[in-house]
C-alpha cells in the first residue's frame, strides 16, 4: 500500500488521513530525502555533551537502537556519561574551549568513530549555528533545528523582529551594531526605555552576561562586565539593552516540528524560580495559567515556530506580567534542561522525538493527541552554596544515595567518588516528581529532597527542600522575585544539636567495631584516612539495593 484514497469526509476523514500519514506517502519521503535525511540513515549518535544530559541522551538513543559515542575531557575520564556510551573519545584538557567547545575536534571524533549523527544537548555548542552547519557539511545529521532557524532565533534582534511580524508581543529593547556604539548610545537608549533596564548577551541565554541596572551610573560598569562574561560564555561580546519587567512569571512553551511542516506544542512550563537569572525549580502546568492564557501562549509559540519553519524540539520563552500580559523573550533552539516535566505530564519522550525527527520521520501524533495529565515539578541539584551567594562548590562525592520510587525521576550525571571540578556548569542532577495533582507532586518532591543524600560537596539540596516546604511555593506565588522575597538571607540549620553530636559518636563507635569488608570496589577510590567509613557505605548499599 502506497497511496490511500479516503472516501469520506469530516472528522473520520481527518482521523484516517492522520493515521495513514504515520506511513508518509512516497512523494513526501522524496522531499525529505532530498534534504539528505531519511529513516535508516541514523545508526550511530555522537553525544557532544557531558553530565546528566549526556546520560539522558545516550539512554534515549539506545532505546531507539542506535549505537552511541561519548566524548569527555580529562576532568571527566570517570564521569558516568563516559562509561555509559558504547564508545568514548577523549576531547582534550578540562577547559571547555579545549574540550566540549572544540567543534573541529568533535567533528574529527565523529568521523573517526563512524557516527552519522550529533546531538549537542544543552549549553556548550547547542545553539551554535556554525557548529550545526559544520555537522551538516560533514554529512552528519544534526539533532536540532535547521541552521537558519538557529541563526534567526539565536539573534535576539532578528528573533524579535520575526516574532513581531508573527503577531507575538515583544519587550521594548535597544540594540547597537557594536560594543563601542553601545557604550556611546547606551545611556540615552536606557533613559528612553526607562530604568530599570536589563543588560543581556545577544548571543545566548542562561543568565550569562545578564545584569539589571537600576541607575544610570551603574550602566557602563554593567556593560563592561557583561561583555566579558558574554565573550567567555559564547565567544561573542555583543550586548543589548531591554526594558525590565519587574516580577514577571517566566513561562515557556515546548514545541516540536517535523520535516513535513507538522508542528505541535506540548504545553507550558513555569520556570519563575531563579537565582542569578538561572532556573532552579520548574513545574507544569503553570499554577497561574488559566486555559484562556494557555491558549494564547501556545498559539503564539506555534505562530513563531511556523514563521521560521521550525523543526525538531524548541522552547519559546515568555515573560508573563501580573495582568496576564505576555512578551516573547527568546527561543531556545535545543533540548531544554527542564524537558522531563513535560515528558511526565504528556507521556511523550522528547529526546526520542528529537532523534526520530532528525532522521526524517514525521510526527506520529497531532495536537489533539497531546493530553496533559497530572502535575510535574523539577528541582535542579547544583554544586553550589546558597548560604554564600550560590558560589559554586567543588569536592569529591563521598556518600551518594539517589532514592527512586513511584512518581520520582532522577536524571543524574554523577557517581560515588566522582570529583566535582570547577570547569563546567554546576548542575549535578535533576530531581523530578509527578503526581495526579500539584499537591501530590509537591509531597513527593519534599520526600525525595529529604531522602536524596550527597556528602562531600556542598549542594543546594537543603535550600531546595526549604523552598519546596514553604507556604509561598505551596500557594503558587512563583514569580521571578520569589527567591529574593522569601529566601534572600537563607542559611542552613544554625547549630549542630546535641542529638547530632550523639549520633556522630555512635557512628564512630560502630565504624570502629565493624571489621573492614572483604574488598568492595567502592573503597578503591577512598582516601586512606577515609577508609574507615567503608562499613557505612556498605550499610547504605544494603538500604538502597546496592545502588552505591
Amino acid at each position: 500500500m502506497q497511496k490511500l484514497l479516503v472516501a469520506n469526509r469530516g472528522e473520520i476523514a481527518v482521523r484516517i488521513i492522520r493515521a495513514a500519514r504515520v506511513n508518509v506517502p512516497p512523494s513526501l519521503w522524496e522531499r525529505v530525502l532530498l534534504q539528505g535525511e531519511g529513516p535508516g540513515r541514523m545508526q550511530k549518535l555522537l553525544v557532544a555533551n557531558r553530565g546528566e544530559i549526556a546520560v539522558r541522551i545516550i539512554r534515549a538513543a539506545r532505546e531507539l537502537g542506535l549505537r552511541t559515542v561519548a566524548v569527555y575531557s580529562e576532568a571527566d575520564r570517570d564521569a558516568p556519561h563516559t562509561h555509559l556510551a558504547d564508545e568514548a573519545y577523549l576531547l582534550g584538557p578540562p577547559e571547555p574551549s579545549q574540550s566540549y567547545l572544540d567543534s573541529a575536534r568533535l567533528l574529527d571524533i565523529a568521523h573517526a568513530s563512524g557516527a552519522d549523527a550529533v546531538h549537542p544537548g544543552y549549553g556548550f555548542l547547542a545553539e551554535n549555528a556554525a557548529f550545526a552547519e559544520d555537522c551538516r557539511r560533514a554529512g552528519l545529521l544534526y539533532v536540532g533545528p535547521s541552521v537558519e532557524a538557529i541563526q534567526q532565533m539565536g539573534s535576539k534582534i532578528l528573533s524579535k523582529q520575526i516574532a513581531e511580524r508573527a503577531g507575538v508581543p515583544v519587550v521594548p529593547s535597544y540594540h547597537a551594531p557594536d560594543a563601542a556604539t553601545l557604550v556611546q548610545e547606551g545611556p540615552a537608549a536606557a533613559a528612553h526605555l526607562g530604568y530599570p533596564v536589563l543588560v543581556k548577551a545577544s548571543a545566548g541565554g542562561g543568565g550569562k552576561g545578564m545584569r539589571i541596572v537600576e541607575r544610570p551610573t551603574d550602566l557602563l560598569p554593567a556593560l563592561e562586565a557583561g561583555a566579558r562574561e558574554a565573550q567567555q560564555a559564547f565567544g561573542d561580546a555583543t550586548l543589548m539593552l531591554e526594558k525590565y519587567i519587574p516580577n514577571p512569571r517566566h513561562i515557556e512553551v515546548q514545541v516540536l516540528g517535523d520535516h513535513l511542516g507538522q508542528r505541535v506544542h506540548l504545553g507550558e512550563r513555569e520556570c519563575s524560580i531563579q537565582r542569578r537569572h538561572q532556573k532552579i525549580v520548574e513545574e507544569t502546568p503553570a499554577p497561574a495559567v488559566a486555559p484562556a492564557l494557555r491558549q494564547r501562549l501556545t498559539s503564539a509559540a506555534l505562530r513563531l515556530a511556523a514563521a521560521v519553519q521550525y523543526t525538531n524540539a524548541g522552547t519559546v520563552e515568555f515573560l508573563v506580567g501580573a495582568e496576564g500580559d505576555f512578551y516573547f523573550l527568546e527561543v531556545n533552539t535545543r533540548l531544554q534542561v527542564e524537558h522531563p516535566i513535560t515528558e511526565l505530564v504528556t507521556g511523550i519522550d522528547i529526546v526520542h522525538q528529537q532523534l526520530r525527527i532528525a532522521r526524517g520521520e514525521p510526527l506520529a501524533f497531532a495536537q489533539e493527541h497531546v493530553q496533559q495529565r497530572g502535575h510535574a515539578i523539577e528541582c535542579r541539584l547544583y554544586a553550589e552554596d546558597p548560604a554564600r551567594g550560590f558560589l559554586p562548590a567543588t569536592g569529591r562525592i563521598q556518600v551518594l544515595r539517589e532514592p527512586h520510587g513511584p512518581g520520582r525521576r532522577i536524571d543524574s550525571g554523577i557517581a560515588l567518588h566522582q570529583e566535582i571540578t570547577p570547569y563546567y556548569d554546576p548542575i549535578l542532577a535533576k530531581l523530578i516528581t509527578y503526581g495526579a495533582t500539584r499537591q501530590e507532586a509537591l509531597l513527593r518532591m519534599q520526600a525525595l529532597l529529604r531522602e536524596y543524600t550527597i556528602l562531600g560537596v556542598t549542594t543546594n539540596r537543603q535550600f531546595l527542600l526549604d523552598v519546596m516546604t514553604s507556604a509561598a511555593f505551596a500557594a503558587g506565588e512563583t514569580d521571578t522575585a520569589f527567591l529574593n522575597r522569601h529566601f534572600a538571607n537563607w542559611q542552613p540549620a544554625a547549630e549542630v544539636p546535641d542529638e547530632i553530636l550523639a549520633l556522630a559518636a555512635l557512628g564512630e563507635l560502630v565504624q570502629r567495631r565493624v571489621p573492614f569488608p572483604a574488598a568492595p570496589t567502592a573503597t578503591a577510590f577512598v582516601a586512606p584516612e577515609a577508609g574507615l567509613t567503608t562499613p557505612w557505605q556498605r550499610y547504605d548499599g544494603w538500604r538502597i539495593g546496592g545502588q552505591t
Binding site: A383, L391, T421, D425, L449, L455, A493, G507
Partner: protein
C-alpha cells in the same frame, strides 16, 4: 568510649561525648552529651548518612546536613568567606586589576575569579596597599588559596 567535638572549625568550645552500650538491649547505646543523655538504637544510623575525613564529620539526617569537627585532630584552617583575600572557590583568575604597591580603596575590585562560568570579584575589605600579589591572570587556584596581601594604609 569518649569522643570530643567542636561545632565549627573555629569554635573554641570542645564538647565531650561519652557513649556506652546498654547491656540489656542489644544494639542500643547510652550517649551523654554535656547535661543531656540519649539512648540511641544502632538502626538510626541506617536512616542517616555519615562521613569522616581529615577530622571533619559530615552527617545527614531527616534531610538536614550537619558538619562537626573531631577536637582530637588538628584544626583545619578557617574556611574563607566571600570578601576576604582568599579564593572563595576553586577556579581560574581571569583578571588581575591591581599591581603590587598599589593603593586601593575599600570596595575596589582587586581580582576576578571565575568558576563554572560564574565570575566572583575579590574586593578590598578596607583601604590599603597591595604589598604582595600571589597569583597571575590565567592561574587555576583551589578554594582557600591566598591571592593578595593587603596591608591597611595606616600600617604602611
Amino acid at each position: 568510649m569518649k569522643f570530643a567535638y567542636r561545632r565549627s572549625a573555629t569554635d573554641d568550645q570542645v564538647i565531650e561525648v561519652d557513649i556506652m552500650p546498654v547491656p540489656e538491649r542489644q544494639g542500643s547505646y547510652r550517649v551523654t552529651v554535656g547535661e543531656h543523655v540519649f539512648e540511641l538504637a544502632e538502626r538510626l544510623l541506617h536512616q542517616a548518612a555519615f562521613y569522616k575525613e581529615a577530622g571533619e564529620i559530615m552527617l545527614q539526617l531527616e534531610g538536614r546536613e550537619y558538619r562537626l569537627f573531631d577536637a582530637s585532630q588538628r584544626r583545619r584552617p578557617a574556611p574563607s568567606r566571600a570578601g576576604d583575600l582568599h579564593a572563595p572557590m576553586a577556579g581560574k583568575i581571569i583578571r588581575v586589576l591591581v599591581q603590587s604597591g598599589e593603593h586601593v580603596k575599600a570596595g575596589a575590585t582587586l581580582l576576578i575569579l571565575e568558576a563554572m562560568k560564574m565570575e566572583q570579584h575579590i574586593i578590598a575589605p578596607q583601604d590599603g596597599v597591595v604589598t604582595r600579589l600571589l597569583c597571575h591572570e590565567g592561574d587555576q587556584v583551589t578554594a582557600g588559596t591566598e591571592l593578595v596581601v593587603l596591608e591597611s594604609a595606616a600600617a604602611v
